[in-house]
Symmetry: C2
Subunit: 239 residues, 2 copies
């Protein structure tokens, strides 16, 4: 991409590499989980990294994030939104790399069915309410902390913070649930993300009053108690 003299020129400074990393989140059994894969090469071989890759020169950043999501996690077409761009000088020992972080939300059923085996999910140690913003760690299913690649704990922490903010103003569990779900399931999503229990009645009232949900008329089945009504998101809530 040489400089053009007519239309204004791009300076010939050395340029950084631009990467994309995706924080792919899901909620399973009341736990917030994130897709990670174990690094097979240096630097930091054996550490756990968010799925990522370098942006190509002929694709937009959003396209790069979608490509990563499809190729490395196996979940194309997921809800995906840009988060923050990390660009400290020494964040990557391989050279000057800035990374545009995205977060993705996937419902647990789809994640289990379609995620690539390489991208296992690990449990996120959700910070206390009001403590968001800093780095956040993950633990394996044995409860031991997993070492994270580079500054990926920072990316994860910001994703949790962003997701909490999202739940606050459009009070909806976005793409973390299948199309039909019970109010209890929706509440479990909120509790897992926020890291604190919520009042059941007030949660019900707020959700129903928001107009973002509509009843399907159907009910859940094969539960050991009174079956709850199934709801879906209205079109408006897709913003």
């Amino acid at each position: 991409m040489a400089a053009k003299s007519k239309a204004g020129s791009l300076e010939r400074h050395p340029r950084p590499s631009v990467a994309v990393d995706v924080v792919a989140l899901t909620v399973e059994a009341g736990q917030l989980r994130v897709a990670l894969y174990k690094r097979a090469e240096p630097p930091q071989r054996g550490h756990f990294a968010l799925p990522g890759g370098f942006m190509h020169i002929d694709e937009s950043i959003d396209d790069a994030a979608n490509r990563v999501m499809a190729a490395k996690v196996g979940l194309a077409g997921s809800f995906l939104e840009q988060l923050y761009t990390f660009g400290d000088l020494r964040r990557d020992p391989r050279g000057r790399v800035i990374t545009v972080a995205y977060y993705a939300l996937v419902d647990a059923r789809r994640f289990r069915a379609k995620a690539t085996p390489a991208a296992r999910s690990a449990r996120v140690l959700v910070p206390w309410p009001g403590e968001t913003g800093g780095p956040v760690d993950v633990v394996g299913d044995d409860g031991r902390a997993l070492p994270l690649f580079l500054d990926h704990a920072d990316l994860l922490g910001l994703a949790v913070k962003q997701l909490r903010g999202k739940l606050d103003d459009s009070p909806v569990g976005f793409q973390l649930l299948p199309t039909e779900f019970t109010l209890r399931q929706l509440q479990e999503i909120h509790e897992a993300v926020r890291g604190e229990p919520l009042n059941k009645d007030s949660f019900r009232r707020r959700m129903l009053a928001s107009g973002l949900l509509e009843a399907t008329g159907a009910h859940e089945r094969e539960v050991v108690h009174r079956p709850a009504e199934l709801y879906r998101f209205t079109r408006r809530s897709a913003l």
Copy 2:
């Protein structure tokens, strides 16, 4: 920055240029205003651009934003926060340029005193409440719309949205006021940013109850009515 074989190599793909643009906002006389300068060179000569520049290879993105703020606006050390990274393929006719957008908040007095003459401020046409997110236009002091450079209307729109969100959860006028101010001035800031009038009593009560303000004991002077008490932000509110 050549690839290193030992520590993992950076691919030799062509790399985009990385720019930084700053949405420097201030509130004056109840109006939200943004710093712009008129382009003297193509492309889009005569259009109005946000102050910006290319990131150097040996500075962090934050440092680049601070450098732009100091060099092009003359307001070093302002409150500055990253906003979003724009990376569409054809957003800049000069080539593949992704830009990391920042927004800055400056109080009106400091802006008037120190902003460089080249960076004039223009009035922001604040969108209706609930209409945020899309592109936002500006008008000159004669009321005529000013043509904006590239996708800078999108950057501005996102800055307004972000600022509104900021005011919602930490309900404080950040750096848009001098260190001491009256509650009425604080309310005017909020109204200018939100684009709607606010209830005076409830605004007072919420602010005082938040614990983010403390009274100085002093009062404003030389007003033609009862002078209001002056407040300042507590240390906590600086987050």
